[in-house]
């Protein structure tokens, strides 16, 4: 699903904090964003489990068949898929100000595991239809391929977000380092690495 990525790239939390009236609403939102449950929910592996685990539950149990008969379950599944996708993307990208930001290794490894889980699910759907459903083989193949290659595109986009964050962060660190090294006045016994003449 590309929708969560596009929504998260718009930085909804930052946007809401700028658009809301400064007093009560903004404070409530800030308290919510910094609350303990939210801090745990945006722990990347947990968010990935809720998202990809939910998909496995949907396609590998009779849940999908149930959604065809019971409108309430159908609606709940739809809402869960969108919300879990949003949560996962939010946790991976971490573009909005949160109490705790997980480092690149956590987010990258989570993305790897989640991407693999998604791709594997798509491949199993190619060969075996979800329990208690009667899709034709052609539909199943088309859907599984869409899921597989669509997932790849979203994964590359997410990886690009992380990569650009890393690139900008190291660029800033490098600029800081250079400023710091340039600041002290040069003397005859300045450290050797600043007096190297290339």
């Amino acid at each position: 699903m590309i929708a969560p990525l596009l929504l998260v790239l718009a930085r909804p939390l930052t946007l809401a904090q700028r658009a809301l009236p400064p007093q009560s609403a903004r404070r409530v939102l800030l308290a919510l964003a910094h609350s303990r449950p939210v801090t745990w929910l945006v722990f990347p592996p947990l968010a990935a489990l809720l998202d990809i685990g939910g998909l496995w539950l949907l396609y590998r149990t009779p849940l999908l068949a149930a959604t065809h008969h019971q409108p309430l379950i159908h609606a709940a599944v739809q809402v869960h898929v969108v919300l879990a996708g949003l949560l996962f993307t939010f946790a991976i990208c971490q573009l909005d100000p949160l109490r705790h930001r997980w480092n690149l290794a956590w987010r990258g490894l989570t993305l790897l595991a989640a991407g693999a889980g998604h791709a594997i699910l798509a491949k199993t759907l190619y060969v075996a239809r979800p329990p208690a459903t009667t899709y034709s083989a052609v539909d199943l193949h088309t859907g599984a391929q869409l899921m597989y290659y669509g997932g790849d595109l979203v994964e590359i986009a997410l990886a690009a977000v992380l990569a650009v964050q890393w690139y900008l962060a190291t660029g800033r660190a490098h600029a800081r380092l250079q400023r710091r090294q340039r600041r002290p006045p040069l003397t005859a016994d300045s450290p050797p690495h600043t007096s190297r003449d290339f």
Binding site: A119, I120, T124, D152, A159, A160, T194
Partner: protein, 149 residues
């Protein structure tokens, strides 16, 4: 340094041959992980490449050598270890496999040879990266700072 990440990300371009339409659970798991890792590796490789360019520490001859060495080494490794020793999958099914294997490993060998030749040439050119550098000394690496304020 440049050579290393060129190997990382360009050899990954060759990884698409790893597919095996196996339905076994372990096969699916390894395939999914590899597929995801290769995509992430591709993105990471490009951004590392951009980082090297930004700090002017990219050494193009070494990078090209690394690219071909990586392609060739992976192709040969895939051809010999995966196809023959482990018998994970074959180049093609239902036909005489010998010409395909020869072509596969031959291509790997050619790539590897080109990479090795480029590496030797790059190494020979290295001392001339700077007229004042003594032979064998590597070019300045990040973080390098100029002494003039």
């Amino acid at each position: 340094m440049a050579a290393l990440d060129e190997i990382v990300f360009h050899q990954i371009l060759a990884w698409h041959h790893f597919y095996d339409r196996s339905t076994r659970a372990v096969g699916l798991l390894s395939d999914g992980l590899l597929h995801t890792a290769e995509l992430l590796g591709l993105v990471a490789g490009f951004v590392l490449y951009a980082d090297l360019r930004r700090h002017h520490t990219l050494a193009p001859p070494q990078a090209w050598a690394g690219l071909f060495l990586g392609l060739g080494a992976f192709q040969l490794f895939d051809g010999i270890v995966d196809h023959k020793l482990l018998r994970i999958h074959q180049v093609r099914y239902g036909v005489d496999i010998l010409p395909y294997d020869l072509a596969w490993n031959g291509a790997g060998l050619v790539l590897l040879t080109v990479g090795a030749a480029l590496a030797v040439r790059a190494d020979a050119q290295r001392p001339r990266c700077c007229s004042r550098c003594p032979a064998g000394r590597s070019p300045p690496t990040w973080p390098s700072t100029s002494s003039s304020p």
